[in-house]
C-alpha cells in the first residue's frame, strides 16, 4: 500500500515537473511571454523574495530566544566563517571578470533599478546630469542576481561597484550556510573543516570578487540543501513554503539552478514526505517554474542540439581542469583528489548498505547521489563549454561544493571519525594557501584567461580611469558596460547605420570626445557587425595585444567621410531638419535625443 502510494506521489510530481521541462525545451510556446517577462520579472521576483524574507523573519522571530544561544555556542564557527570570507576577498581584483556576460548582468540590474524592466541597454545617451536609454533588448541573463543587485542599488544608491559589495556579502553568507549545513548534519568541527576546504578553491575567489551571480547560486543551493533537511525533519507548511521559495529563487539564479531545484523536488517526492493534502501546492507551484525555465536560454545547449560527442569531450576537459597542477586553471587539485576519493567511497558505502528504501537514515547519501548525478548531467549535456575554458570554469564549483560536503560525511560515517584534532584544521588551511596566489591586478599570473574578457577589461579600466569621459561617446563592444559606467555609448553596428548623425553631434559639441573600440584579428574571423564602417576616420590611441592573433584597439573618431556609392546611409537615418530658430529649448533636447534613436536597418541587415 505504502509503495503504491509512493509511486502514485512520484508520478504526480513527475508529471507536474514535466510541464516546465516541456516549456523549457520548446514543446509549447507562450505568446507574448517576452514582453511579459520584460515588464514583470522585477515584480515576480519581488513577490517571491518578499515571501521568502517574510517567512525567514517569521521563523527567526519564533526562534528569537534561541538565536543568542546559537550564536554563542557557535562563536568559533562564526569567526571561521568571517575570516574565511575575508580570505575570499583578498586574492583577486574586485572588478568585472567575465565580459561581456558580467556587463549584461550589470546592465540588467541598472534597468531593473531605474526602469523596473528586465532589459540590457545597448545604446544610451548620457549628458552632464542625465541619462537616456536609446536602445534596449530583453535580457538574457538569469534574473535573480540582477534583481538583487538592483535592490542594493535601490537601497544604497546606484554604483557599478555595488556588485562587488553584494558578492562579498553573499560569499560571507555562503560560508555561514555551509557551516550551518554541515554542523546541522554532522557536527560543528566538520562544519569548520568544510568551510576551510571550500574557501581554498581558487575559482570561488574569482566569482566572489567578480560581477557575476555564481556565488548567489552557490548560496541558494546550500540554502536549499539546508531547507530540505529542515523540511524532511519538520514537514510543516512554513518549511514547505520556505523550501519552495528557495527553490524558485535558485531556479531564477541560473539555468543550472532551475534544473537542480527540479531534481531536488523530485527527491522530496521520492521520499514521500509531501502530505496528500499539500500535493496540490507542489502541483500548482510547478507551474511557476515555467518562468525561470523560459527566462534561461536553453536552445543552444548540447542536450537539445544533439551534439553528444561535443558533450562527452567535456569529461576530458573536466579531468584536465580538476587534476591540473600547473596552476593554469582556477582549480584545487588536492581537493579534487580527496573529493573524488570521497565520492567513490560514498558509492561503496551505498552499495554496501544496499538500502534503497526511503528511510530517514539513508536519505543523505541518496541526496548526494542524486545531486552528483544531476551535476554530472549538467556538465555533460547542459554546459556550453568545458571547465578548461575560463568562461565556464565556475561550473566546477558544483563539483567542489559536493566534494566539501561529502568529505566530512565520509570521514564521519565512512571512517567513523567522531572527534577531529585541532591540528587537522591546519590541512585545509594549507591547501587553501598553496592553491591561491595573486601577482598583480590581473590575478594569478599563470592562469589561463579568456581573451575577450581580457580585452574588455582593458576598456573597462579605460572607462574608470578617465574622469573626463562623462562627456564622451563610446562606440564599440561592451557598449552596455560603458553605459553602466555612465558614458554615452552604442554598438558598432548601430553606429555604422548613422554616421552623419554622429558627425552632426560632434559638430554640435554634444560630446567632447568620441572613442571607438574594436577587435583586430589577423585571421579576420570577426563578424561584419563588429567591423567599424570605413567612413569613420579614426586616430588610434592605443592597441592592446591580447594574444598572437587578437588585439583590442581604441581610437578617437576625428570625422566622418562622405559616402561612396554602395555605402550610403539610408535616407531615414540621415539627420532630421533642425528645429525652427527660436523654438523652445526642449525642442533642441528632443532633437538631440532623436539623433541617436532607432535607426532603420537596410534590407540585407
Amino acid at each position: 500500500m505504502d509503495k503504491a502510494r509512493t509511486v502514485c506521489r512520484l508520478t504526480v510530481c513527475f508529471l507536474c515537473l514535466l510541464f516546465p521541462i516541456a516549456a523549457g525545451i520548446g514543446l509549447f510556446d507562450i505568446p507574448q511571454f517576452d514582453i511579459w517577462m520584460l515588464r514583470s520579472s522585477f515584480w515576480v521576483l519581488f513577490v517571491a523574495t518578499i515571501l521568502f524574507g517574510a517567512i525567514l523573519v517569521w521563523s527567526g522571530w519564533l526562534n528569537r530566544h534561541r538565536l543568542i544561544n546559537i550564536i554563542i555556542s557557535h562563536r568559533v564557527g562564526i569567526v571561521v566563517a568571517i575570516l574565511s570570507s575575508v580570505y575570499l576577498l583578498v586574492h583577486e581584483p574586485h572588478e568585472f571578470k567575465l565580459l561581456p556576460h558580467e556587463y549584461n548582468i550589470a546592465s540588467t540590474a541598472r534597468s531593473m533599478h531605474l526602469y523596473r524592466t528586465y532589459a540590457i541597454v545597448d545604446a544610451g545617451h548620457t549628458s552632464v546630469s542625465g541619462s537616456t536609454s536609446v536602445k534596449a533588448r530583453i535580457s538574457e541573463v538569469s534574473p535573480f542576481y540582477p534583481w538583487l543587485l538592483s535592490m542594493v542599488h535601490g537601497l544604497t544608491g546606484y554604483r557599478p561597484g555595488n556588485a562587488f559589495v553584494l558578492n562579498g556579502v553573499l560569499g560571507f553568507l555562503s560560508c555561514v550556510i555551509m557551516y550551518a549545513l554541515v554542523t546541522h548534519w554532522i557536527g560543528s568541527s566538520f562544519g569548520i573543516i568544510s568551510v576551510l576546504l571550500f574557501v581554498g578553491v581558487p575559482v570561488l575567489h574569482e566569482v566572489v570578487t567578480g560581477g557575476g551571480g555564481e556565488v548567489l547560486v552557490i548560496l541558494l543551493l546550500l540554502g536549499l540543501l539546508f531547507q530540505i533537511r529542515v523540511f524532511l525533519d519538520h514537514p510543516c507548511i512554513r518549511n514547505c513554503v520556505l523550501l519552495i521559495t528557495v527553490g524558485f529563487l535558485l531556479s531564477c539564479s541560473s539555468p543550472f539552478g532551475s534544473f537542480l531545484s527540479l531534481v531536488l523536488f523530485l527527491f522530496i517526492g521520492l521520499f514521500g514526505v509531501i502530505a496528500p493534502s499539500r500535493l496540490w501546492l507542489f502541483c500548482l507551484l510547478s507551474v511557476c517554474w515555467i518562468y525561470p525555465v523560459l527566462s534561461s536560454d536553453w536552445t543552444d545547449r548540447p542536450v537539445l542540439t544533439g551534439d553528444l560527442l561535443f558533450a562527452i569531450s567535456r569529461i576530458s576537459d573536466g579531468v584536465v581542469f580538476l587534476f591540473d597542477t600547473t596552476r593554469s586553471y582556477a582549480n584545487s587539485p588536492i581537493l579534487s583528489v580527496i573529493g573524488l576519493v570521497s565520492v567513490v567511497l560514498l558509492f561503496v558505502h551505498i552499495l554496501k548498505t544496499r538500502d534503497f528504501m526511503p528511510a530517514k537514515e539513508s536519505r543523505d547519501p541518496k541526496l548526494f547521489l542524486l545531486i552528483i548525478a544531476a551535476c554530472f548531467f549538467i556538465v555533460l549535456f547542459v554546459s556550453k563549454g568545458g571547465w578548461t575554458d575560463p568562461r565556464y570554469s565556475f561550473e566546477s564549483l558544483y563539483f567542489y561544493l559536493m566534494a566539501v560536503l561529502i568529505i566530512p560525511y565520509v570521514m564521519r560515517f565512512g571512517f567513523g571519525i567522531l572527534y577531529i584534532g585541532k591540528s587537522v584544521y591546519l590541512l585545509p588551511v594549507v591547501f587553501a594557501i598553496v592553491s591561491n596566489g595573486t601577482w598583480n591586478a590581473w590575478g594569478s599570473p599563470s592562469r589561463i584567461k579568456d581573451p575577450e574578457s581580457v580585452g574588455m577589461r582593458l576598456i573597462d579600466r579605460f572607462f574608470r580611469s578617465e574622469p573626463s569621459l562623462e562627456n564622451a561617446l563610446y562606440i564599440g563592444p561592451g557598449s552596455c558596460g560603458a553605459i553602466v559606467r555612465k558614458l554615452s555609448a552604442m554598438p558598432i553596428d548601430y553606429a555604422n547605420l548613422i554616421p552623419e548623425r554622429i558627425q552632426l553631434m560632434m559638430d554640435l559639441e554634444c560630446y567632447q570626445h568620441v572613442y571607438v573600440g574594436e577587435w583586430v584579428a589577423e585571421n579576420g574571423f570577426l563578424d561584419e557587425k563588429d567591423t567599424v564602417s570605413p567612413r569613420f576616420l579614426l586616430e588610434i590611441i592605443s592597441e592592446w595585444a591580447i594574444n598572437d592573433v587578437l588585439s583590442f584597439r581604441l581610437s578617437r573618431l576625428v570625422g566622418v567621410s562622405d559616402s561612396v556609392p554602395g555605402n550610403e546611409t539610408l535616407p531615414e537615418n540621415l539627420p532630421l531638419p533642425f528645429p525652427a530658430a527660436g523654438s523652445p529649448r526642449m525642442d533642441g533636447l528632443v532633437y538631440i535625443s532623436d539623433l541617436l534613436n532607432r535607426p532603420a536597418k537596410a534590407a540585407n541587415q
Binding site: H113, L114, Y115, T126, G130, G154, Q512, A581, D587, G588
Partner: protein, 612 residues
Amino acid sequence: MILNIDKSQKVHITVGLASALVAVLLPFVVFSENDSVQAVKHFGYWGMLSLLMFFLWFLLYEIPSVYSLVKIVCKEWLPIVVSVLCSLYFMAHHKFEYRILFDEYVISNISLSMSARNKAASSSYEPRANAVVEPIVSKVDKRPVFFPFALSVVHDILGYSPYNVFLLNSILTFVLFLLLYRFVSSVSGKIWGLFSQLSVAGLPLVAMSSTSAGYEIMNLCWILVVCYFGVKYLFSDGTRYLDLFLVSVLILANCRYESILYSVVPVGVFLYKGLRDRSVAITPFASLSPLFLLFPLLSNRVFYSSEDHFQTTKDSFFGLDYFLKNFEGAFRFLFDISGIYSGSIFVSVFALLACLLLGFGVYSMIFRENRDRVGLGLLFFLVMFGAVVLANTCMALSMFWGDWRDPTTSRFSLPLHLLLVLLLPWSWSIVTNSKRPPWWIPALPMLYIVAWASCVSGREMIRPRFLGSYTYNKVFDEVLVDWNNDDTFVMTSATLGAALFGFYSESLVNSEQINRQLVNRQIGTGIYSRVLFSRLDSSSPFGGQTIDAFMGGEDGFENSKECSGFIIMDPVYRKKYMFDQEFRIGVIKGLKMPVPSADTVQVPEASDRAAE
C-alpha cells in the same frame, strides 16, 4: 459662557495685544523701507539668537535628567536606528550640492556674513589695508534669517566651510525623523510613528531637499516642533508648554516666507483651550512674544521694497490664473504613478484613505455624539494646522512660479506632504482613540520604498535637471579649487557663489560705464595675479536667443550683456554642457576702447556702497 480671567492675566493680555499692534505698525507704518532693511541687517542676528536662547531656556525646564534621557534612548532604540538608516538612505541616493540657485547661494552667503560680522546681509568681499577683509557691497535679502543664523552657528563652532550647510541639513534630516516619530507616537502610538518615518523616507522630494543647501528641512522640523508642543499645550494644565509652543511658532515664522501663517495656530489653540477650560492663562513671555514677529514682517517689507525681489512684477507675482494652472500640475504631481516626479503616490493614496477615515470620525462625533476630550482636541488642532497648511499651499500655487512638476518648485509642496503623512495616524487616533494599530502597518511604507521609491530616487539622479546648478558646482569643484583665492579676484554679474568659496569678488552692474570703472580699478590695484571674468552662455546651435548667466547663480544675466562686450579676456577654461550651455572663464587682460558718450557716471567708492 463665562471665562475666568484674573487681573494679572488681563494685564498680560493687554500687553500681548499691544505687542501685536507694535509688531504690525512698526514695519508697515512707522519704518521706512530703508529702516526695515537696516533693522533686518543689524538686528536680525541678535533677534534670532535671542529666540534660540529662549527656546533652549524653556526647553531645559521640560527636559528630564540625563539619566532619564539615556533610559529613553535605550528604550526607543528602534526609531533612532530607523532615523539613522533613513538619513543614510537619502545621502546614498543624492549628492550633496547646491541645487536651487541663486536662493541657496544667498542663504549661505548671509550665514557667512552673520558668522563673520553678525550682520544679516549677503556680501562680496575685497581685502583692505592690514589684510582686513571688508564687504564691498552688502545686500539685505527678502528671506527670513533663521536658517542662515543656524548655519552661522555651525560655522562658528566648526570653522567656516561652504559645505557646512550639508552637515547642518544632514543633522536636521535625522532630527526630522526623530521629531516625526516623537510627535506621531505621542498622538497615535509607536507603530504609527514608525509608519510616518518610513513614509517620509519614501518621498524623494525630502531626500533632495535634505541634500541641498536650502531651508526646507529646517522648516519641516519646526512645523513638527510646533505641532508637538501645540498638542502638549492643548492637553496640559494651565500655561505649561505655552512658552515653548509660542517660541517654536516664532522660530518657524523666521524659517520661510509663508511660515508666518502658522502664527494663527497658537491663537486658535489658545482660544479653544480657554473656551474648553473656561479660563484663560497667559505667561509674560507670551504677552511679549508678538514682538518677535517683527523680523519676518520686516523681511516681508524688504521683500516688497524692491522690484528686484520679484521675478515678475509686484502685481503679477500672484494670481488666480496661476492657481488654476498650477492646481492641475499639483494634482498630477501628487498622483503621478509613472515615477517622473519626486512625489509619493503612497503618501497621496494613504492621505485619501485618511480623509475617508476622518470623515467617518467627524460623522461619528456629530451624529453619534461620540465625543471624547482628546479626540475633539486633536480634531481641532488638525483642522487648525490643516487649514494653515492648505492656505500655505494655495499661496504657493497662486504664485507665477508654482508648478510643482518643475523640480525647482516641487519643494513648495513639502508642508502639504507633511500634513498628508500625518493625516492617517492622526485620523486613526481621532476615530479609534487607540494607539495600537496592526503591527504590520510600518511594513507598508517599507515595501513601497523597496518596490518603487528607490526607483524614483534613482531616476531623479539621471534626469537632466538643475542644469545651471550642476554647471556651477562642477566649476567650483573642478576648476576654482585649484586656484589660490588670495590673489584671485572674480568680477561677474553675481558673485555670491564666488564669495562663498572664499574668492574676493565684486558684482558688475547694469551699466557699461560703471562696469568699466569697476574693472579698471580692480585690475589697477596690482594685488591680484588674476582678475577673472566668467560667463555661462546658453546659445542654441539651432538659432535662438542667447542667455548669459554668471558665477553666482542665475540672477543677473541681464547685466552681463552690459559687460561682456568691452572686456579683453585670456580664456583659461571653456567647457560645453549639453548642446547649448557653455561655461567660460577668462583672465581680464584689459578693456576695449569705449565709445564716446555724453553722460559720464561716477562710481561710488566701495566703502560708500558698503554702507548703503
